[in-house]
Amino acid sequence: MHLTEDQRDAMQEIANIAMGQAGSLLAELLGNFVNLSVPRIKVLALAQVGPAIRDMVGGDVEVTAVRQSFQGYLKGEALVIYGHNGCKELGDLLGYDGTVEHAEETELLLDVSNILVGACLGGIVDQIKNAIEVEGNTELGFSAPSLMAERVPADALIDPDKLSWTHALLLEVNFTLEGRNFISHLCMLMPEHSIEKMRSILDQFIESL
């Protein structure tokens, strides 16, 4: 189930460019410098995802996570994971004013997550579309994002018993806004057949180079 080294490199390249684009779009939207880290990519068995997320956020901290499913020729769920500092500071950036109430904070988290997931996945899909011929409809559809967990220990976020995915493509992106204490992590969970699809797309991508 693991990616070959070539496939990993190709995925890395696609993700790098996609994140660069996502970063500049987000910067334009938020009117603020956005720093998106170079994504780290892993294919993990579900049991390893919990510990990986724990490492990602830096150990025993409480996290809040938003989930959003995507459908199309790639299917899966994207998780956006936030450290305990949350994102109160983002309020004014997205057109909220005054103090941030709980409902507004949640709405903000959902909004930011939706933007991150859409920009990142959209970027990846665009890269693939530009490089190779994909049969059928290349647009992904998104369902409304929802709050998955609020202030839970990082390793309690993923309960392998409650998820039907067996493997996950973990695309780890750190997202910081200049001058603002805000870091989030993006994680894409895809079922086996979608990862399989991804692998064949990556092979085509490599051939096209």
Partner: protein, 325 residues
């Protein structure tokens, strides 16, 4: 589309009549499509809205927020969403449940979709608006019921004050909080003296009345942050946040007095009641909140052993005389 001589264009028909709000705005926030659902609920027909700026037609809309939301869709070419749970409605529409509602307006879930023109660029944004009132009402009722259930599972059935389960839960939380933030609190444990004698002499109903009256009297002495619970049969516990032993002692003395001062009256019969009280203060070095209960219990034992109707503060030297834990 309503011209009888023309064949019905099915997609147009569906958009017009589907029981979901559908409207489209361009980059200038001018409305280019407004379906029947939107007309019916807003009271403004497509003729009155199409071609006009959305905010001119509906000055009540949250302009700054909505503009930014729509701009984001243009820019990112990405779907966007709102949920009734965070933002109950976009448009202030009445809902279809005027009798059984209990909510003021139609709850709405909205999806904002980028519409690409022939050039492939996004030239407008289509918004769908789902009536989520039914879901909202049942969810709200469910939440209320869950809250009531949680509340009643924390209460003592007889006195209505908190029960032991809740007390221990709060004690544990307060213990952790004080340890983390280097704060302090005290825990008071008290017991009605010779309660069995009251039951035997005046009957169990009289005993119940004593428990109720005593908890009401003490409740009036407490601050809103204090937590009083029925710990056992005639035993009560009180958590006093941010309170040192000396202040807790003053309050405990007032508790003792308010119980002793006036007999509890049951069916015209005055029943004299007194209480013995033990106090323990939070110590960061203590292994757990159970240890604090044990210390209060040692102090309470001492108060009883010294003749009852008195307050005792925990001190390590009291341990020697206390029964084993």
């Amino acid at each position: 589309m309503s011209e009888p001589t023309q064949a019905i264009h099915l997609p147009d028909f569906i958009v017009e009549w589907v029981d979901v709000g559908v409207f489209v705005v361009n980059r200038n926030m001018e409305v280019t499509l407004w379906n029947r659902f939107m007309s019916n609920h807003s009271g403004l027909d497509a003729d009155a809205v199409v071609g006009r700026n959305l905010f001119d037609c509906f000055p009540d809309l949250p302009k700054a927020w909505l503009s930014k939301k729509v701009q984001g869709v243009f820019l990112l070419r990405n779907f966007a969403f709102t949920s009734w749970e965070q933002r109950p409605y976009l448009f202030r529409f009445p809902h279809n449940r005027p009798i059984t509602g209990g909510v003021d307006h139609m709850y709405q879930n909205c999806t904002f979709m980028p519409v690409k023109g022939a050039s492939g660029e996004v030239d407008s944004v289509c918004v769908t608006l789902f009536d989520a009132t039914d879901v909202g009402i049942s969810q709200t009722e469910l939440k209320k019921a869950m809250a009531r259930l949680a509340e009643s599972s924390n209460r003592d059935g007889l006195t209505g004050i908190y029960n032991r389960r809740y007390l221990e839960q709060r004690l544990s939380a307060e213990f952790d909080r004080c340890r983390r933030y280097r704060d302090h609190f005290s825990f008071v444990l008290f017991d009605l003296d010779h309660f069995k004698r009251i039951n035997d002499t005046y009957g169990h109903l009289a005993g119940d009345e004593v428990l109720c009256v005593v908890s009401r009297r003490i409740d009036e002495l407490l601050r809103s942050v204090d937590v009083m619970a029925r710990y056992g049969g005639e035993e009560f516990g009180v958590i006093l946040p941010a309170t040192a032993m000396q202040s807790a002692r003053i309050l405990a003395e007032r508790i003792r007095l308010v119980i002793e001062r006036e007999p509890v009256e049951y069916k015209g019969i005055p029943i004299p009641v007194t209480a013995s009280i033990g106090i323990a203060e939070f110590e960061a070095a203590a292994p757990s909140h159970e240890h604090l209960i044990r210390c209060a219990d040692v102090a309470l034992y001492h108060a009883k052993a010294s003749g009852r109707n008195r307050v005792a503060c925990y001190a390590p030297e009291l341990e020697a005389a206390a029964p084993p834990a």
